[in-house]
């Protein structure tokens, strides 16, 4: 963990809330990890909110893949370059180094093969930005431990039988996966349940317990 550089000083609660519009905090955090004018692929781009934000605030050349037809058609009608596709099956079609950044925003836990998806992301892009809900958050742990049922929270609102999220992980799990596949963690931010970033110098166990969601900026090792 010593190799990890925490997020830069521009990344604080003030800059998050001062962003124009009403963009979600986690999307703003993702956007701030992307360099101006970069070429970006957003995997699982939903209704295109992040692509719009990236285009307006960072001037990126953005593309998207989205599984749901409704999401895709909404994006295309907004003028975004989005295609209907599946992160699990369609990333293989992209050539190496096609993008500066490949983003997976709140989608990792819904993929069938998160590890393969992550490996593809860092093949296609020089860098990857991954945000996901932290299953190690204390509220999640409490629900399972004391209430004895599968956790349901604001950002994980589904019942066990209809959730699209089939591969939950904790911040700790994700860091281990990055280690396993040899990915360099350049920046990381965790947000608490109120959408504020946790203290940068807090230890990892603290993030894993109090971070409701996390955003990682990754690059290839070496």
């Amino acid at each position: 963990m010593s190799t990890l550089t925490h997020a830069g000083s521009n990344l604080n609660a003030a800059s998050v809330t001062s962003t124009p519009g009403t963009a979600r905090v986690d999307l703003v955090l993702v956007a701030q990890m992307v360099e101006y004018g970069a070429k970006v692929l957003d995997v699982g781009c939903g209704d295109g909110e992040l692509l719009r934000l990236l285009s307006e605030s960072r001037g990126v050349d953005g593309r998207g893949i989205e599984l749901s037809r409704e999401g895709v058609n909404e994006c295309v009608a907004k003028g975004l370059a989005v295609i209907q596709g599946d992160a699990d099956t369609d990333l293989g079609d992209y050539p190496d180094d096609a993008f500066d950044y490949v983003i997976l925003s709140q989608t990792l836990q819904a993929t069938r093969h998160p590890r393969i998806v992550l490996e593809h992301m860092l093949r296609i892009g020089r860098r990857a930005v991954v945000s996901f809900p932290n299953f190690g958050h204390w509220q999640v742990r409490m629900q399972l431990l004391f209430a004895g049922h599968m956790p349901r929270t604001d950002i994980l609102p589904f019942s066990w039988y209809d959730t699209p999220n089939i591969h939950h992980c904790t911040i700790k799990d994700f860091r281990q996966l990055c280690g396993t596949i040899g990915v360099k963690m350049e920046k990381a931010v965790a947000l608490n349940a109120w959408g504020s970033p946790l203290r940068l110098n807090a230890p990892w166990w603290f993030w894993n317990l109090f971070g409701e969601q996390a955003v990682f900026l990754l690059s290839r090792k070496g």
Binding site: D61, R63, R69, V72, N73, C75, V76, A77, K78, G79, L80, A81, V82, I83, Q84, G85, D90, D93, Y94, P95, A98
Partner: protein, 390 residues
């Protein structure tokens, strides 16, 4: 037989169309290895070209379409074939864009084709007309743009055979196409599609009135053959669900079956009407030539079988659209285009629209299609510096 006399006239001197003449100094070099010269292109324009000539949109028509995309058809007196898409305030807005729609080479509405008069003989070309390809059509359109002084197109749009031309445009002239909208099409004609076309051609050629392709000279017209070809093709443009919704097993103007081969069923009556109406406005030999052009289309084939090479380094933005119930050009074909464009790192949007209207959906009232085309063109227009409509 006035319709026989009419068709070469429309082919040589089309009504309500502009004509660009290309003399001996500007021959059309065909893939077949011969030159077509002289030849002419009939076309329509809508809207106005802006000062920096950056707002031109080329519309490519489908197999049986023509240049009358957004105005009354001079033969049928019906509305333009894409008036829901093209016109003032429409997704392809003629108040913003300068729309050009040419009749393709080989067709019969004023651009040189088999029913046109061969100036060397003074008689209709008939089967002496050289076989043409989608690439030949596009090459001719590029010559038209040169003639009009338009260096680069803001957009090229079309469905079905029109979509094939769009893809060919993007491959042949990437620097001249800012954005491309290939709709309900494919980069190659499948075996099934070639098979359907062959049935249509055989229907025409089996009609004794076809006269070995010399029907215009002999004052005949293979009406039955062409009508049957159209009937068969028309089924492929619809879907099982659409036919069921529209007709089911309903009888036509009768309560009970007649126990004959009359058009008892509404769907029979409808198809017969489609066939008869088509013959009034279309030339049988053109049908042979244009279906052949589609059959020969195989974009990857021109690039060592690798489709992505056709789009390598392309600056063009693409918006690929397919329809769920289109079994003639199914979504898998559009997905193949998208995969190739991704492999070429092109900027591509791809939407599949849910509809039961089959292949024909691209010509019909599909609000989602309109929203997608409008949104795509708006976004591209901003990048092109075309002022948004106030």
């Amino acid at each position: 037989m006035p319709e026989v006399a009419d068709s070469p006239r429309e082919a040589d001197q089309p009504h309500e169309s502009l004509i660009a003449h290309f003399g001996a100094d500007r021959p059309l070099k065909l893939d077949a290895g011969v030159e077509l010269s002289p030849f002419q292109i009939a076309y329509k324009t809508y809207g106005a070209l802006n000062a920096d000539r950056s707002n031109a949109v080329l519309i490519c028509h489908a197999l049986t379409g023509d240049q009358h995309v957004a105005s009354i058809h001079p033969v049928t007196r019906k509305a333009g074939w894409w008036e829901t898409m093209v016109g003032p305030g429409r997704p392809i807005d003629t108040e913003r864009y300068f729309v050009i729609c040419p009749n393709v080479v080989g067709a019969c509405m004023g651009t040189t084709g088999p029913s046109s008069t061969d100036p060397k003989t003074g008689k209709p070309w008939g089967l002496d007309f050289p076989v043409i390809t989608i690439r030949d059509m596009v090459r001719a359109q590029a010559m038209l743009l040169d003639h009009l002084g338009i260096e680069s197109l803001f957009a090229v749009a079309g469905g079905s055979m029109g979509g094939m031309q769009v893809l060919q445009w993007a491959a042949s002239y990437p620097q001249r196409v800012f954005c491309a909208l290939p709709i309900a099409c494919a980069t190659r004609h499948s075996a099934q599609n070639i098979a359907f076309h062959e049935v249509g051609r055989q229907a025409i050629m089996a009609d004794p009135e076809w006269r070995g392709g010399r029907y215009l000279l002999e004052n005949a017209n293979p009406r039955r053959g062409l009508a049957v070809a159209r009937m068969g093709a028309h089924i492929t443009y619809l879907s099982d669900a659409a036919l069921h919704r529209k007709f089911g097993r309903k009888f036509q103007d009768r309560e009970n079956p007649t126990f004959s081969f009359d058009a008892d069923f509404e769907v029979e009556s409808y198809l017969r009407h489609q066939g008869i109406a088509f013959v009034e406005r279309f030339d049988a030999n053109s049908y042979l030539y244009l279906t052949r052009a589609m059959d020969y289309f195989d974009l990857a084939g021109d690039y060592d079988g690798t489709l992505a090479k056709a789009f390598a380094g392309t600056p063009t933005r693409f918006c690929v659209v397919s329809f769920t119930s289109d079994w003639l050009f199914p979504t898998s074909e559009s997905r193949a285009i998208v995969h190739a464009l991704n492999a070429a790192s092109a900027r591509v949007s791809f939407a599949e629209i849910v509809t039961d209207k089959g292949h024909d959906a691209f010509l019909l009232e599909e609000p989602e299609l309109f929203a997608i085309v409008r949104g795509f063109l708006d976004g591209a227009g901003k990048s092109r510096g075309l002022a948004a409509k106030s």
